[in-house]
């Protein structure tokens, strides 16, 4: 991530600011005619996806390398993509497109405001992954997060008030804590906010004179961890996703949440002393708890959306572990796999939220005991849901497989019991996911569904819903069959970070031979 080359500023700016501008216009023109606002909003959702995919695929390299891109943007924000952020940027745009399609077919009050706020969320999330400095990073994050709260509060489902409140507290505190840590580090390094790019922060903190107290790194790490629902700072996540309107859960759980993970990778791990000492062990314990405890909590769920929300917390575990094994053991494969899983999880989890809501709009419920036998009435919905479930349990063919197996294999140097504990997620996730599939779609048709169907007959997945599902699962299949599409971006940076981790480890070992 050291070098950025000047390239294609217009495309990147267009990808981030089209949704924001479209969102502004929709917010301002509350009485715009429906067909116009729909078409206009669709432009705001689709254009970033087209551009991001173009920048992501090898074909754009006719213009030179897209991996290291830096643009001097509007109002002094510098924009750029690096090896770690460019797959995330592309994933965000794809999830945004699917969420947009979902939002467009929803019937809601004050539709233009609703669409406008979702567009803001998308623009902000895209900005998070396309910025190269601290100010832009936090600005775009807040820019995406504030609409998230508002959307959850006014358009959310059951329990939205307390969920939005809890989410607001957690995420504000998490973001502020991580920022506080960074500010302390910056003052130690003598950097001002205006000039604090990721690269400068990194270089400044790696001069030998500077030594940061562990507490500084800790608040940054766990601040970011809170945003990515690291155990035990995860309590906001499941109710938050469950209460939010579906497009919001899709963008938030799929893409925006990865802000915290990206922050851990690019700031906490790269710059601060994350990899060594007790902090690293604490991080490991929390990450394993994510896998095991959140996984067990999933087993106890009785409600489809709650289950998907909790599983989204549980699936963060392997990602944390991949990051951990790279930063503390210097295993590059861990980071490669973690990023792969971040992308794949974004796609599969968005698809699950989308399809779970399709169940809800038809049957009026998320509860397992009221559902059953739905495959009889909606075979395509059932097939898509099973496909999304299989993606999320890491079936080969979908991107999640490479991420999960990559994390397991990168942990090969750890003790066997620890590996077994972590790999137990392949069983636990299969248990709760297949139980959900069976109780929603298989078996005889439930009494509630029969009643509902006789009053208001419902149809199988509509064209728009199919398109949104196809976009998400198609993208997951593409990276599943051609994993190099992701790794060609990430390999170099992952190796760089692993090398730093190894050097740090060697240094701390020689400085402190008694400690391992």
């Amino acid at each position: 991530m050291e070098t950025f080359s000047q390239l294609n500023p217009t495309l990147l700016i267009a990808a981030i600011f089209t949704p924001i501008v479209v969102g502004l216009i929709l917010l301002a023109g509350k009485s715009l005619p429906r067909s116009f606002s729909s078409a206009f909003a669709f432009l705001g959702f689709a254009l970033p996806a087209v551009i991001a995919i173009w920048l992501f695929l090898p074909c754009s390299e006719a213009f030179g390398s897209p991996l290291k891109l830096r643009v001097t943007g509007l109002w002094g924000f510098n924009l750029g993509l690096n090896g770690i952020s460019s797959p995330l940027f592309a994933m965000t745009a794809v999830v945004g497109l699917a969420a947009g399609i979902k939002a467009l077919i929803q019937e809601v009050e004050s539709r233009n405001t609703y669409l406008g706020l979702i567009l803001f969320m998308l623009g902000g999330t895209l900005g998070v992954f396309a910025t190269d400095n601290i100010v832009g990073f936090y600005f775009f994050h807040e820019f995406a997060l504030i609409p998230t709260f508002i959307l959850t509060l006014y358009w959310g489902g059951e329990g939205r008030r307390s969920a939005a409140m809890q989410m607001a507290i957690y995420l504000t505190v998490g973001a502020m804590l991580s920022l506080a840590g960074i500010l302390i580090a910056m003052s130690a390094a003598g950097l001002s906010l205006g000039e604090a790019t990721f690269v400068k922060l990194f270089l400044a903190l790696h001069t030998p004179q500077i030594s940061l107290p562990t507490a500084t790194a800790a608040i940054t790490l766990f601040g970011f961890g809170t945003l990515a629902s690291l155990f035990p700072f995860h309590s906001w996540a499941a109710p938050g996703y469950s209460a939010a309107p579906t497009p919001v859960s899709m963008i938030h759980a799929g893409a925006l949440k990865k802000f915290g993970l990206y922050g851990i990778i690019i700031i906490a791990a790269a710059s601060m002393n994350l990899g060594q000492g007790s902090l690293s062990n604490w991080f490991l314990i929390c990450a394993v708890a994510n896998v095991v405890i959140a996984g067990l909590i999933c087993l106890a769920q009785r409600d489809l959306k709650q289950l998907i929300s909790w599983s989204s917390v549980a699936h963060m575990g392997p990602i944390f572990l991949g990051i951990w094994v790279c930063t503390s053991r210097g295993v590059a494969a861990g980071l490669d796999a973690a990023i792969f899983l971040m992308v794949a999880h974004g796609l599969s989890c968005a698809a699950l939220f989308l399809l779970a809501n399709a169940v809800r709009t038809r049957t009026g419920t998320y509860r397992f005991d009221e559902l059953g036998g739905l495959a009889k009435h909606t075979p395509i919905l059932a097939a898509c849901f099973i496909a999304a479930t299989m993606a999320s349990v890491g079936l080969p063919g979908f991107g999640n497989f490479w991420g999960e197996i990559g994390v397991f294999l990168s942990l090969k140097g750890e003790p066997l019991w620890l590996q077994a504990l972590i790999a137990s997620t392949v069983v636990i996730s299969a248990v709760y996911s297949l139980r959900a599939v069976a109780s929603v779609f298989f078996g005889p048709v439930s009494k509630e569904i029969t009643e509902r169907f006789s009053i208001a007959p419902f149809k199988d997945l509509s064209g728009a819903e199919r398109l949104a599902t196809f976009v998400l699962l198609g993208a997951s299949l593409v990276i599943g069959f051609a994993p190099h599409l992701i790794t060609r971006h990430t390999n170099e940076d992952a190796e760089g970070l692993a090398k730093i981790a190894k050097i740090k480890k060697a240094l701390s070992n020689s400085a402190n031979p008694s400690v391992r």
């Binding site: 936090y138 807040e142 504030i146 709260f149 509060l153 008030r161 307390s162 939005a164 409140m165 607001a168 507290i169 504000t172 502020m176 500010l183 001002s192 906010l193 205006g194 035990p232 995860h234 309590s235 067990l296 909590i297 087993l299 106890a300 769920q301 590059a332 494969a333 980071l335 490669d336 796999a337 495959a375 009889k376 299989m390 080969p396 497989f401 490479w402 197996i405 990559g406 397991f408 294999l409 990168s410 942990l411 090969k412 066997l416 590996q419 077994a420 790999a423 392949v426 069983v427 299969a430 248990v431 069976a438 298989f442 078996g443 005889p444 048709v445 994993p483 790794t487 190796e495 692993a498």
Partner: protein, 612 residues
């Protein structure tokens, strides 16, 4: 076509077929069925061609991507074992596809069914061809998925839904060990490639742990003790699925894989496989006596044969295991297809006690079923005799008398349940309306059982030369030669005694009480003992009393401690610290409270920006 090209076609044709069916032919069941069947026959033709025209090892490798230093490899390794397996799988599968056209004639979801079969073909062929552990694992998982999908074919039945879930999860438990084994190989030897690993093995042995871990995958997929519980439930799927996946190919893939990595297995692992395999064979064979569902009885028979194959692996004879796998594939596929034909003919009656007298009504089915049964019982010079007796004899020669005794018991049990099956289904009087009105099946169903049953079950043994091409015989040539005439060996005596007393005895015994199970009448306790659901009960107890309670307890703790006390307390303390105004807003309306939080956060942020 050059061999590499045909390998590509063999592997990817079924995937193409599945994709086309999923996208375009979901509602055109008839076209989908024939399309899928045609690809299966093309694959069988290509596999046969490879078998006849190629020699030695053919390898090809391509790295899909790199995760750090781990390369994600994709490649083929076609050696003698793989050639035989490729031939058996594609040949049996092609005929089962044809059979399914007749069997699934009235099914509305034919498109889904044949799409599933095509995905299964893709997955199993991937296992056969894989040249490294990671690729094997990938297709291993895909096989599990296609099995899940096909067991759940009648998803509106509760038992099918439960059985599919059980099969997938049990397999995943095995795969957990498999993954750890892969990680171990990678750490210790830096490679996952079979050839490279076997090169390592030539100058150093492998530790026990790696063999144990890889064996877990085999235990799951081949339904070996203690992960055998899913196979009998898996019979909830359509009968051709039971024939193809849960008898002939998928469960045998575990045996094939173990034979392929047999150099990785330490002596202790082999010991365990031999003992547990022999025990499994005897136990499952006896349990087949207490099943009235014809498919479940056959499923226990499959378990028994898988135990025998596992035992052969454990005795250090992977080539015998592969031979028995091939022979078993032919006769067990015939038995299942014959059962399918019977079920189809009797209007979906599966209870053997309600059948009877089908010999006259379904002569072709009966003839092929009897032929395959004789092969199953290892009547001398039938296909099953060559492979099974060789394994029993191997146990004797290596002085493993306990294993020999178990295998002898298994041979006796095989004859007992086979005789029972013949007696109840084909002889005597029809015991229900459905059996009275039974009819012979259409040609699409009888052709496959004639080919597989009469052709391969009887003749594969002594007419091996004609039926199995020379290059495939390479693997099995040695054992076949050693086994050709061994009429005075102990195994032969055991076999003949078992045959005489077992088969003839049970033919007589089960005729005593028409419409009832004679064993159940004579000794209900024994019958109940053999129904054997102990492990299912034990696992269910674990799930209900331990796993579920633990999950609920942890969810409760999370709610109480992390979410409730800690968070509320901290949040409350925070609010109190921020003063009266905030706290009052808190109480009056959460909307405003939240607005305050956002404002505070933004102010804090702006302050940070300005203060620098």
């Amino acid at each position: 076509m050059d061999p590499l090209q045909s390998l590509h076609w063999i592997l990817f044709l079924p995937l193409i077929s599945a994709a086309i069916i999923a996208l375009f032919l979901r509602r055109q069941g008839f076209i989908a069925a024939w399309f899928s069947t045609a690809t299966a026959f093309v694959i069988a033709g290509l596999a046969l061609n490879l078998l006849l025209t190629t020699q030695g090892k053919i390898g090809w490798h391509y790295d899909l991507a790199k995760l750090g230093e781990i390369s994600l490899g994709f490649g083929y390794l076609l050696d003698a074992n793989a050639r035989l397996m490729l031939f058996v799988v594609s040949f049996v599968a092609a005929w089962i596809h044809l059979f399914s056209i007749g069997y699934m004639q009235d099914d509305e979801a034919r498109g889904r069914f044949f799409g599933g079969l095509s995905i299964f073909m893709f997955s199993i062929l991937g296992i056969v061809l894989a040249d490294n552990l990671l690729m094997t694992f990938i297709f291993w998982e895909l096989v599990g998925f296609s099995s899940y999908m096909l067991i759940a074919h009648y998803f509106d039945k509760d038992f099918a839904a439960a059985a599919s879930k059980k099969a997938f999860i049990t397999n995943r438990v095995g795969d957990l060990g498999f993954i750890l084994g892969i990680a171990f190989c990678l750490k210790q030897y830096g490679t996952l490639n079979f050839e490279a690993l076997s090169a390592v093995s030539s100058f150093q042995g492998f530790p026990v742990v790696v063999g144990l871990l890889l064996m877990c995958g085999f235990l799951g997929k081949s339904a070996q003790f203690p992960l055998h519980v899913w196979l009998t439930d898996a019979m909830a799927g359509p009968t051709p699925v039971s024939a193809l996946i849960h008898a002939a190919t998928m469960v045998a893939a575990g045996v094939y894989f173990m034979a392929r990595v047999s150099f990785l297995l330490a002596p202790e692992v082999l010991q365990w496989m031999a003992v547990s395999g022999a025990g499994m064979a005897a136990l499952a064979g006896l349990c087949a006596l207490a099943q009235t569902d014809i498919k479940k009885s056959l499923a226990y028979s499959t378990l028994a044969h898988l135990g025998i194959m596992g035992c052969a692996l454990g005795l250090g004879h992977p080539e015998l295991a592969v031979l028995h796998m091939a022979m078993h594939a032919f006769f067990k596929a015939t038995l299942f297809l014959g059962a399918g034909s019977v079920i189809h003919g009797c209007h979906h009656e599966q209870d053997m006690l309600k059948m009877g007298g089908l010999l006259k009504k379904m002569p072709i089915t009966a003839a092929t079923f009897i032929a395959a049964t004789l092969s199953n019982c290892a009547v001398p010079f039938f296909a099953g005799w060559y492979s099974k007796d060789a394994i029993i004899e191997a146990a004797w020669h290596q002085n493993h008398y306990a294993i020999f005794a178990f295998l002898a018991l298994a041979a006796l049990a095989t004859c007992l349940y086979s005789g029972r099956m013949l007696r109840l289904v084909f002889l005597g009087q029809p015991q229900s309306k459905n059996a009275e009105h039974a009819h012979e099946s259409p040609w699409t169903m009888t052709t496959p059982i004639i080919i597989l049953g009469l052709g391969y079950s009887i003749a594969a043994g002594f007419a091996t030369d004609a039926l199995i091409p020379a290059s495939a015989r390479q693997v099995i040539a040695k054992p076949l030669q050693e086994m050709a005439f061994h009429l005075n060996a102990p195994a032969t005596w055991v076999g003949l005694l078992a045959l005489t007393f077992g088969l003839l005895g049970s033919l007589k015994f089960y005729g005593i009480f028409p419409g009832r199970d004679s064993l159940q009448v004579f000794s209900p306790q024994t019958y109940k003992l053999l129904e054997y659901r102990y492990f299912d009960h034990a696992y269910r107890w674990y799930i209900n009393h331990i796993q579920r309670r633990l999950a609920e307890f942890i969810a409760f703790l999370d709610l109480l401690i992390i979410n409730g006390l800690a968070v509320r307390w901290i949040a409350g303390g925070f609010t109190a610290a921020l003063g009266q105004i905030t706290s009052r807003t808190f109480h009056r309306g959460q909307a405003r409270g939240y607005a305050v939080w956002i404002t505070l956060g933004s102010l804090l942020f702006i302050w940070f920006l300005l203060a620098r």
